[in-house]
């Protein structure tokens, strides 16, 4: 097959299919299967390992995801920040550290879910698929950070324009032409995870409890809007 066709499939068709699935299915699921929106915590069944697995994973993945979003949204600012080598090193090193934290957390989660029989009872096939996807994706990310350093800069110059072209409905894959296989796999897997997202427990991410910090202490519901 012509490699250009494959590229067009992987970096234009697939992203749109996955993004479409993501938006359609999260909304559909929220409207029809609202009960299923839950973080499905298993802390009640096992407490100690839960702490050492779930906490590093969440802090790690939150920081990493936030980093990707920042580079996507404000690439110029990131480039400006990186213009000073020390700042670049700090950014790269902390990104790597959070990536490792995520991976350690993920592996601990898988070990916990696999080894504790009670927790295994509340682990579905979907969960296992998700864990595999996330571990591979995190491992790819860490490999890229090690093998192709200064990702915070080249993400801003190559990937941000590509992603913007996707979101602006004017896809342009020429930015990716020179990207190595590792980076391309990372992109493809990222879109696959986004497409898989609505069918997994990840949906709890969309319902993080933001009004809590501002609302009144007590919640009272009346028949009408009292």
């Amino acid at each position: 097959m012509d490699p250009r066709v494959l590229d067009q499939f992987l970096f234009i068709a697939l992203p749109y299919v996955c993004l479409f699935t993501f938006f359609l299915m999260t909304i559909y699921r929220y409207r029809t299967e609202k009960f299923s929106y839950s973080s499905l915590s298993s802390q009640f069944l096992e407490n100690r390992q839960h702490f050492f697995a779930v906490v590093p994973f969440h802090y790690g993945i939150l920081a990493i995801t936030l980093g990707h979003f920042i580079a996507f949204l404000i690439p110029k600012t990131v480039l400006a920040w990186n213009s000073h080598p020390l700042r670049l090193y700090i950014l790269e090193l902390s990104a790597l550290a959070f990536g490792l934290l995520t991976l350690i957390g993920l592996i601990s989660i898988v070990m916990r879910r696999g080894s504790i029989s009670k927790v295994r009872q509340v682990t579905t096939t979907t969960d296992w698929i998700l864990f595999v996807l996330l571990i591979v994706q995190t491992a790819l990310g860490i490999s890229i950070a090690v093998i192709y350093p200064w990702g915070s800069s080249w993400f801003a110059t190559i990937l941000s324009p590509y992603l913007w072209s996707i979101f602006l409905l004017n896809p342009d894959i020429s930015y990716l032409a020179a990207s190595p296989l590792l980076v391309k796999s990372h992109i493809v897997l990222a879109f696959l995870i986004i497409g898989f997202f609505p069918f997994t427990r990840l949906v709890h991410l969309l319902v993080v409890p933001n009004p809590y910090l501002w609302r009144k202490v007590q919640v009272v519901r009346w028949y009408g809007n009292k």
């Binding site: 699921r29 299967e33 609202k34 009960f35 299923s36 929106y37 839950s38 973080s39 499905l40 915590s41 298993s42 802390q43 009640f44 069944l45 096992e46 407490n47 839960h50 702490f51 779930v54 906490v55 969440h58 802090y59 029989s117 009670k118 295994r120 009872q121 509340v122 579905t124 979907t126 069918f199 997994t200 427990r201 709890h204 319902v207 409890p209 009004p211 809590y212 910090l213 609302r215 202490v217 007590q218 919640v219 009272v220 519901r221 009346w222 028949y223 009408g224 009292k226």
Partner: protein, 497 residues
């Protein structure tokens, strides 16, 4: 003044025989499902004892309820607003299944399917979580009737502050004493579970005060389980949602008493409306420990007071609810007679389930002394109760004995009065003196006697019309609604997708 109505409860502990019928009625209706096997929305504990989950009253361990900070603020002990953000992934004070018990069943199939052998097959206990063989370590009511035991009763948090002698007497062989403590959700005025929920899934119903968890909004952040000091919100390990006692609201809405109330063999349970002033909530919840019981009671309003009635009407409380409030047995026990007290008010959630502290057993506690029972000494001095006053005060008075002593003195006076009336072997003057000392009139004593011993179904449960038709009216045309319900499909509580 902002008048609100609340369906409230009284449990008369002197009448509880510890039969667990209430627990079974509740279990059969609500929690006999996967993920809820271990839950007991209603349970009956032996006191002194450690209860369910084990040592739930030990807030050093569980961090339930509110605490009054030095700056005068009321903070949630477990995860206040500032603490929830970093702790949302792993709740630091979440009890685990080990604090309750791992539910189990028996491998009955083995009795039929076991291969032929030299010994009889047995039905081994197996876990209801993973189906594996289980070594049963604990179960519901594991310490039932085990007061006096060094591993259970001795760990009761309410023994704090009791003298060595009192502790000894509580568990003395052949003289040990205990009573039963049935518990459901207190449907508090200042519920800590509601205050702690990051999703806002928990709420108090405005019209009747029932505290519920919106199952479609619960995201399993688990804050309510840690926050409720009474440990009456439970985490369903299968559906990934929290659940709690719903005060059988579908039954209440159709005029029936909740299942645990209805089935109560000892007829210890009373249910009725209380009107209260919601504006005073924060102020009362912040009172110092010794003023909490009285402050809580002062929030409850007189349903016969014209000003209260006017304010209630203004706030949309219907005539039928006002009438129910006037006939409420709970109002009499709590406000008029003052013999029902809230449990562990020091948690500052302002519970709306009140307990009449137990008098029994009638025999007094006098070490190395035999008490002769005769007409002059029929009922013991309440200060020599076999259950130490301090123990009851820890349960029902935030450690302060005044309210408990008042309630017990009045109950004792009722007994003297009725003895004088019906048997006549105690003289009328003594009975009247004891009534006076207990701040009780003959009429009041008769009323207490009647509602305690001769109470019929409609005396115990004064259920107001819940006006659900009004709730429907807010959403859509009731006639349209009528054509859409009653036939169709209800989907079960499945886990995730």
């Amino acid at each position: 003044m902002q008048v609100r109505s609340q369906v409230s409860m009284v449990f008369h502990l002197d009448k509880c025989i510890g039969c667990h019928t209430c627990s079974i009625a509740c279990k059969n209706i609500w929690t006999d499902r996967k993920g809820a096997e271990y839950m007991w929305w209603n349970n009956v504990e032996t006191k002194p004892g450690t209860g369910f989950p084990t040592k739930w009253e030990d807030q050093e361990k569980y961090k339930g309820g509110f605490e009054l900070a030095e700056n005068g603020k009321l903070n949630i002990k477990s995860t206040s607003k500032t603490k929830i953000v970093p702790n949302i992934f792993h709740n630091p004070h979440m009890p685990t299944m080990d604090d309750y018990y791992e539910p189990w069943t028996y491998d009955y199939q083995n009795l039929f399917n076991a291969p032929e052998g030299s010994v009889q097959p047995t039905a081994k206990p197996i876990s209801m979580i993973d189906g594996k063989d289980i070594d049963i370590q604990a179960g519901p009511n594991w310490d039932d009737d085990l007061s006096g035991s060094p591993i259970y009763a001795e760990n009761d948090a309410n023994l704090e502050g009791l003298t060595e002698r009192q502790r000894h007497e509580l568990s003395a062989i052949e003289r040990l004493v205990f009573f039963y403590f049935p518990r459901i959700c207190n449907h508090c005025l200042n519920p800590c579970c509601v205050a702690s929920c990051p999703s806002g899934a928990l709420y108090k119903r405005g019209e009747d005060g029932i505290v519920l968890i919106d199952q479609k909004r619960c995201r399993a952040w688990r804050s309510c389980v840690a926050a409720c000091p009474y440990k009456k919100t439970y985490f369903n390990w299968f559906t990934g949602k929290s659940e709690k006692c719903i005060l059988c609201f579908p039954r209440l809405e159709t005029g029936q008493a909740p299942a645990c109330f209805h089935s109560c063999v000892g007829r210890i349970r009373y249910l009725g409306v209380l009107l209260y002033d919601a504006d005073r909530l924060e102020e009362v919840a912040k009172l110092p420990d010794e003023e909490l019981v009285e402050g809580h009671r002062s929030m409850i309003l007189d349903p016969f007071d014209p000003q209260v009635i006017a304010e209630a009407r203004k706030n949309g409380i219907s005539e039928a609810v006002l009438e129910a409030a006037q006939n409420s047995p709970v109002y009499k026990f709590v406000k008029v007679w003052k013999i029902a007290l809230p449990p562990h008010i020091e948690y500052r959630t302002l519970p709306m389930l009140f307990y009449v502290p137990p008098m029994s057993p009638v025999q007094a506690s006098k070490p190395e002394d035999t008490i002769k029972h005769n007409s002059d000494n029929l009922f013991h001095d309440i200060n020599d109760s076999r259950v130490p006053m301090k123990f009851l005060a820890n349960l029902f008075g935030a450690g302060h004995e005044g309210g408990v002593r008042y309630a017990l003195a009045k109950q004792k006076a009722v007994r003297w009065h009725r003895r004088a009336e019906t048997v006549g072997d105690v003289d009328r003057e003594t009975a009247d003196r004891i009534l006076r000392e207990a701040n009780c009139s003959r009429e009041e004593a008769d009323a207490i006697y009647e509602l305690t011993t001769l109470c019929k179904f409609e005396d115990r449960f004064v259920i107001p019309p819940m006006h659900r038709e009004q709730a429907i009216e807010m959403m859509k045309d009731p006639y349209e609604h009528k054509t859409e319900v009653g036939f169709g499909f209800v989907s079960g509580p499945a886990r995730g997708l």
